[in-house]
C-alpha cells in the first residue's frame, strides 16, 4: 500500500513481483524445462515478427548501422501520434524541402494493417526525413504504436549504442487530459494545453510550463527521453494534453508555441499556408462513426 501525491491510499503495483508469484515461478520453471521445439519455434517466429526494421524506403534494403551513426545530426525532431504528426506536416514540412532517408517498419498487436510490405503514405509507420538544405536536421513522423518490448530496439536502430552528444532532440506527442493528475477537476482545465519535460543537459528554456509531479510520460516518448537523459543528450519533450485524441484542429494548433523555440524558429516560414494545409489534412482524415452524434 502506498500514499499517492494527493493523499489517497492505493495499492501500488510492484514491478519486483508479488509474494504469490514465487510458488508459481517454481512450477513454471519445471514446465519450461519441458519446452518443446515447437514452442521454441513459435517464440522465435514471434520475436522475428516483432522485430523493428529500419529500411531505406526507395531501395527497401535494411540500414546496416543505426540511422544517426550513418548520418550526422545536429537537430532531431520526433513527432509521435497523429496530432503531433499533423502539426509537423503542416507547419514544418511545407517550409522547406525534406528528403526521406528511411522508415522503420514494425508489427505489434495494435497495428491495424497486417501487410507490412506495402506502406502507403497514410499508413507509414515511422518515416525519417532530413532537410535538403541542411542535411543534419532530421525529422521523424511516427504514427504507429511502438510496444514496450520494441522500444529498446527502435532506440538502438535509430540512435545506435553510442550516440553523439552534440545534437538536440525535440519530441512532440499527445496524451488524453484524463491522464493528467491534478487536484483540480478536469472540467476546469484549459485543454488542450502544453507541458514540457527536459533532460538535464537541455539548457534552453521550454516554451511552456514543465510537467508537474505526479504526472509521468508513457510509451515511446518516455523511452526516447530516458535514453537521452542516460546518454547526456539535450532533449525536450512537449506533451499536449487534449480531450480529443483523434486528429483535431484545435489540438494541433495547441503545439503552435513550439514554433517560437530556438529549434524550430529557423525551420518555419509560411504560417498562413500551413493552416490551409492543416485544414485539408483534417477533411481527408475524417473517419465516419455513427455512434456519436
Amino acid at each position: 500500500m502506498a500514499a499517492t501525491f494527493f493523499g489517497e491510499v492505493v495499492k501500488a503495483p510492484c514491478r519486483a513481483g508479488t509474494e504469490d508469484d514465487e510458488e508459481e515461478e517454481e512450477e513454471e520453471e519445471e514446465e519450461g524445462r519441458r519446452e518443446t521445439p515447437e514452442d521454441r519455434e513459435v517464440r522465435q517466429q514471434l520475436a522475428r515478427k516483432r522485430e523493428v526494421r529500419l529500411l531505406r524506403r526507395q531501395t527497401k534494403t535494411s540500414l546496416e548501422v543505426s540511422l544517426l551513426e550513418k548520418y550526422p545530426c545536429s537537430k532531431f525532431i520526433i513527432a509521435i501520434g497523429n496530432n503531433a504528426v499533423a502539426f509537423l506536416s503542416s507547419f514544418v514540412m511545407n517550409s522547406g524541402v525534406w528528403e526521406e532517408v528511411g522508415c522503420a517498419k514494425l508489427w505489434n498487436e495494435w497495428c491495424r494493417t497486417t501487410d507490412t510490405t506495402h506502406l502507403s503514405s497514410s499508413e507509414a509507420f515511422c518515416v525519417f526525413y532530413h532537410l535538403k538544405s541542411n542535411p543534419s536536421v532530421f525529422l521523424c513522423q511516427c504514427s504507429c504504436y511502438v510496444a514496450e518490448d520494441q522500444q529498446y530496439q527502435w532506440l538502438e536502430k535509430v540512435f545506435g549504442s553510442c550516440p553523439r552528444k552534440n545534437m538536440q532532440i525535440t519530441i512532440l506527442t499527445c496524451r488524453h487530459v484524463t491522464d493528467y493528475k491534478t487536484s483540480e477537476s478536469t472540467g476546469s482545465l484549459p485543454s488542450p494545453f502544453l507541458k514540457a519535460l527536459k533532460t538535464q543537459n537541455f539548457k534552453d528554456s521550454a516554451c511552456c510550463p514543465l510537467l508537474e509531479q505526479p504526472n509521468i510520460v508513457h510509451d515511446l516518448p518516455a523511452a526516447v527521453l530516458s535514453y537521452c537523459q542516460v546518454w547526456k543528450i539535450p532533449a525536450v519533450l512537449y506533451l499536449c494534453y487534449t480531450d480529443v485524441m483523434k486528429l483535431d484542429l484545435i489540438t494541433v494548433e495547441a503545439f503552435k508555441p513550439i514554433l517560437s523555440t530556438r529549434t524550430l524558429k529557423g525551420l518555419v516560414k509560411n504560417i498562413p499556408q500551413s493552416t490551409e494545409i492543416l485544414k485539408k489534412l483534417m477533411t481527408t482524415n475524417e473517419i465516419q462513426s455513427n455512434i456519436y452524434t
Binding site: 499517492t4 489517497e8 492505493v10 484524463t178 472540467g187 484549459p190 485543454s191 480531450d243 480529443v244 483535431d248 484542429l249 484545435i250 485544414k279 483534417m282 477533411t283 475524417e286 465516419q288 455513427n290 455512434i291 456519436y292 452524434t293
Partner: protein, 256 residues
C-alpha cells in the same frame, strides 16, 4: 485510483465521485459541437454536421429535432442532443410522448422548463439504478413559452439542468463557450440576424470545413420553426467574412 470505484454506477468513490457519470460526460465530448443562443425575440440552435458517408441517406442524419409543435400558436420546442446517437433517439421519443401526454392531460402545451425537467429527471433515474448505465448525452433545449419569453436550457448526463443565455456542448465546447462569453453582448443579440450571426461565428471557431458543415435552426416569437438550408447558411457566412475583412481594413488604416 479510479479503477475500484468506476465499475458500477451505484457506487460512490471515497472522495465523492460517481465515475460512470463523469465518464458519460466524456462520451458527450465525442459528439460534434452544438451551440444555442437566446436572443431577445429569437432562439438559435446550430450544430456541426459530420460528413455523411457516400452511400448514406442524409435525411436520416438530422440532429436538430422538434419535441413539440403547437399548431395554433405556431411555436415549438426544439432540441439537439450531443453524444451517443442511440441514447439521443430513445430520450427524444420519451420526451415527445411526454409532450403529447401533457397536452392531453392538462390541455396545455408543455413549457420549455417542464420538458427539460422531465428529460433531466429521466437522466437522473439512470444514474441511480443498478444494472443500467447513464445516458451519454447532453441536450440543448430551446423554445418560447406561452408568455412569449425565449428560453434555452442545457441538460447533462448527471441529470442536472440549467437555463443559459448562450451555451455550447460537444467537442471543443470550452472554446466555443469562451468565444460566447466574450462576444455575447446586448448589441450582439439586438436583432435576429445578429443573433444568428453570433451562432454561426461561434461554430466557425471550431468547425473545420466552414459553412457547408453547419446545420442551423431558429424559432422567432409567434412564428413556426425554421430550418436553414445550406444556401442560407452560406449567405450568412459570406456576410460574416465580409464584416471581418472590413474590420481588418479599418484596423490597418488606424494603425497606419
Amino acid at each position: 485510483m479510479a479503477s475500484r470505484y468506476d465499475r458500477a454506477i451505484t457506487v460512490f468513490s471515497p472522495d465523492g465521485h460517481l465515475f460512470q457519470v463523469e465518464y458519460a460526460q466524456e462520451a458527450v465530448k465525442k459528439g460534434s459541437t452544438a451551440v444555442g443562443i437566446r436572443g431577445t425575440n429569437i432562439v438559435v440552435l446550430g450544430v456541426e454536421k459530420k460528413s455523411v458517408a457516400k452511400l448514406q441517406d442524409e435525411r436520416t442524419v438530422r440532429k436538430i429535432c422538434a419535441l413539440d409543435d403547437h399548431v395554433c400558436m405556431a411555436f415549438a420546442v426544439l432540441t439537439i442532443f450531443v453524444g451517443l446517437t442511440a441514447d439521443a433517439r430513445v430520450v427524444i421519443n420519451r420526451a415527445r410522448v411526454e409532450c403529447q401526454s401533457h397536452k392531453l392531460t392538462v390541455e396545455d402545451p408543455v413549457t420549455v422548463e417542464y420538458i427539460t425537467r422531465f428529460i433531466a429527471t429521466l437522466k437522473q433515474k439512470y444514474t441511480q439504478s443498478n444494472g443500467r448505465r447513464p445516458f451519454g448525452i447532453s441536450a440543448l433545449i430551446v423554445g418560447f413559452d406561452d408568455d412569449g419569453i425565449p428560453r434555452l436550457y442545457q441538460t447533462d448526463p448527471s441529470g442536472t439542468y440549467h437555463a443559459w443565455k448562450a451555451n455550447a456542448i460537444g467537442r471543443s465546447a470550452k472554446t466555443v463557450r469562451e468565444f460566447l462569453e466574450k462576444n455575447y453582448t446586448e448589441d450582439a443579440i439586438a436583432s435576429d440576424s445578429e443573433a444568428i450571426k453570433l451562432a454561426i461565428k461561434a461554430l466557425l471557431e471550431v468547425v473545420q470545413s466552414g459553412g457547408k458543415n453547419i446545420e442551423l435552426a431558429i424559432i422567432r416569437r409567434n412564428q413556426p420553426l425554421k430550418m436553414f438550408s445550406a444556401k442560407e447558411v452560406e449567405l450568412y457566412v459570406t456576410e460574416i467574412e465580409k464584416e471581418k475583412e472590413e474590420a481588418e481594413k479599418k484596423k490597418s488604416k488606424k494603425s497606419v
